[in-house]
Homo-oligomer: 120 residues x 2
DNA sequence: CTGTATCCATCCCGATACTG
DNA sequence: CAGTATCGGGATGGATACAG
């Protein structure tokens, strides 16, 4: 299911949530079920290949559930598992923290600019 | 300071905290000040180069503070900023979530094994 | 001790084409 | 529509040597 040999849970969970796509996909799934092609439209810049790989990773981590419907054309739906739902507020908290810190950084930059320093 | 053009704070914060080292470094810094060489000892597998790069990234994100002391040999101390301290419980929560999920996965694996399925 | 620069192997990821 | 396979360019990261 997963072959990480780390003893640190943080290190492990970051292997799954780190990177550009996992958190975004979780966000698009948090309000309900989405199909493969929906997710492609949601994130126009993700490649077909990466979407499948990222979804598989999230499935292996028990965050995303895949449901396949018989018929033609083939139809597959993705949604968050219960564990995945629990994850949403935790990721949210990180986002909030970041926004707060960003504004703090912006303030600092403004101060420094006022003090006559270059702000690259 | 940072040149991300993403509109999603989650995506941005994951750029900083994602990957193998950031969360680990934060953990080693959360209990107090550490020197460069201390952090190398803490994480024997991180390369000299990566340690400097990761520390710089955390500094740019306003998470880590660097203090340089005059004298010979040069001495530098790192610790968490206030924003960095606030981050610790949030990362903790992710770690806890992961451990809970992991045990759930382990249970599932055991069930499947009992059912006679191979567990890679 | 701390940090930088260079070189080089590796891996990630996008593009593309193909299968069910 | 959903997913897999293959290839190649580019980013990533380790080793090493050097500088302050």
């Amino acid at each position: 299911m997963k072959t990480l040999v780390s003893r640190c849970p943080i290190e492990e969970v970051m292997q799954v949530l780190g990177g550009r796509w996992p958190s975004l996909l979780i966000y698009y799934l948090k309000d309900g079920t989405r199909r493969f092609s929906d997710l492609r439209r949601d994130n126009p810049t993700i490649s077909h290949r990466m979407l499948t790989l990222e979804l598989r990773k999230l499935m292996d981590a028990g965050i995303v559930r895949r449901t396949e419907f018989e018929g033609y054309p083939l139809r597959v739906e993705y949604d968050l598992t219960d564990a995945g739902q629990e994850l949403v507020p935790l990721i949210d908290a990180l986002g909030d923290w970041w926004e707060k810190t960003e504004s703090w950084c912006a303030d600092r930059q403004r101060e420094m600019a006022t003090a006559g320093l270059a702000v690259t």
